[in-house]
Amino acid sequence: MGYFANFSDFINMGGHALYVWLSYGITLVIFGYNLLAIWLKKRAFFTFAKRQLKREQRNYDA
């Protein structure tokens, strides 16, 4: 376990568990949000563009 003797020592962080894991948790959430935002933006564009394309196709057929 590297510097720590065992797993529970690692989780405990020498009594600073709350601060360390809260910081890393917030960072993880914000990183995750950045990735999620890409996916949402992409999906929003493709649904919009495909609908637009279909409408144009229909107008063209009619």
């Binding site: 962080m13 600073h16 601060y19 917030i26 990183f31 935002a37 890409i38």
Partner: protein, 250 residues
């Protein structure tokens, strides 16, 4: 202004070329970010020795410092992209600047919240009006202003220009803000123990920090390119290459 630039610079102005080249580069940056961040976090959390003064709480440095660095360099990048966009009338540069703003703001939020949390075991309070934290907070306000200005304009080209002007004004002001906040801080409290300034870190501490900084930059590049590509598609959705792309993919 007419400054001769290399050929790739003018190619960047083509939305399709930029879209393709970013699509090619993106996976590599994503992979590098994943490898660097995992290595850096495991090394920083498990293998780096604890700090003799702060114990294990100093391990927050591995996510705090890279985000603070990135938050500032992202603003510089937006300013440079804004200048390129205005001088050479390059739409792609404006789109890069616009896509960078929310990422920079989220990095600032990371730096602020991890700094505040780190302050609790170090200074005994969840928020301290420390010079670095205060400048970070002001940087966040600058980011929020720029993002709000982008969304206030219904005409995207005008929004790009307005936000670029504001970014340039902000970039000129950042050193002044930093200096005045530091001065204000020394005025109101004698120089106290700062979080990250320490005498000569041993290599087993700073090597993982360096890895994390590189990892953050790669992650930033990955997200920036992804956002830029989608924004390019949105702005160009009536042009031929986007329609071709849409009909090709199911």
């Amino acid at each position: 202004m007419n400054i001769k630039m290399p050929k790739w610079f003018y190619q960047l102005a083509s939305p399709k070329w930029s879209y393709d080249i970013m699509g090619m580069l993106m996976p590599w940056f994503g992979l590098a970010a994943l490898l660097l961040l995992v290595t850096g976090i495991v090394w920083g959390l498990m293998f780096a020795p604890p700090d003799y003064q702060q114990g294990n709480s100093y391990r927050i440095i591995y996510i705090h410092v890279p985000s603070a660095i990135l938050a500032q360099s992202c603003f510089m990048l937006m300013a440079v992209a804004g200048i390129i966009g205005m001088v050479w009338k390059m739409k792609v540069a404006h789109i890069v600047a616009k896509s960078a703003a929310p990422i920079g703001a989220s990095m600032t939020i990371i730096a602020l919240s991890t700094g505040a949390i780190w302050g609790k075991p170090t200074w005994g309070a969840w928020w301290v009006w420390d010079a670095r934290l205060t400048s970070m907070l002001i940087l966040l306000f600058l980011y929020l202003g720029i993002i709000a200005l982008y969304s206030a304009f219904s005409n995207k080209a005008s929004g790009d220009q307005a936000a670029s002007i504001l970014t340039l004004v902000g970039v000129v002001n950042i050193p002044i803000i930093k200096y005045s906040v530091e001065w204000w801080n020394t005025l109101h409290q004698p120089a106290s123990f700062t979080l990250t300034k320490k005498p000569a870190m041993p290599p087993e501490m700073w090597v993982p920090l360096l890895i994390m900084v590189l990892g953050y930059y790669c992650f930033f590049a990955y997200v920036l390119m992804a956002r830029t590509r989608i924004e390019l598609l949105e702005r160009e959705h009536k042009s031929g290459w986007v329609t071709a792309l849409l009909t090709d993919t199911p």
